[in-house]
């Protein structure tokens, strides 16, 4: 079974630029999560999708971050404009609808904002 795929793996941008991350969850997983992991900290949930609907985006900085999950499969997370403090690893995870406690994480995208 293929795992959660993410791209790109690394991205370096200047502040005020925009960036987008892509995630392909495990086949059949209805729930998809985006986490932000700042160096030295645990992952923090940004947004949770169930199929193509948003379940929780309470910690998503909506003035600059946006996410979508078209057709309930792949998802993209966008930051526009980026700030220095957005430097982090962005992790995508997915789970079965009836087993949301078992989340499978992708390798992450390491974003550096200079």
């Amino acid at each position: 079974e293929a795992g959660v795929a993410q791209s790109p793996r690394y991205k370096i941008i200047e502040k005020r630029q925009s960036v987008a991350f892509w995630c392909n969850p495990i086949s059949g997983h209805a729930t998809l999560y985006w986490y932000q992991q700042i160096l030295g900290q645990g992952p923090k949930l940004l947004i949770q999708f169930q199929n193509n609907g948003v379940v929780d985006d309470s910690q998503l900085p909506k003035d600059r971050f946006s996410a979508e999950r078209l057709k309930g499969v792949d998802s993209t997370l966008k930051i526009q404009p980026a700030k220095l403090e957005d430097s982090a690893v962005y992790l995508c995870a997915s789970s079965l609808l009836l087993a949301r406690h078992e989340q499978y994480f992708g390798p992450g995208t390491r974003l550096t904002v200079t």
Binding site: G42, P43, L45, A93
Partner: protein
Amino acid sequence: QQQVKQSPQSLIVQKGGISIINCAYENTAFDYFPWYQQFPGKGPALLIAIRPDVSEKKEGRFTISFNKSAKQFSLHIMDSQPGDSATYFCAASIATDKLIFGTGTRLQVFP
């Protein structure tokens, strides 16, 4: 109240020794407590998890001890191996929804 406090920040153990990582929480509504293992350049992977109706769960060399009255839980790694060197995160959730992660413990096991 939504925080999960984890300690120590880093841990150095000799091969064959016992590694112990502790976590504490405040929100008594939490009902699921997993531990994740993360290697450099990889995403976290679920290692072992426990619900508050049991005090201990063991899977191979990994054991979770849970103290509901103290609102604490810990991960014990018996016979620690160099391959166990990784960052470990405890987490907690309510009704298997949003996971709240601890700050992580970097474990180094020396041969």
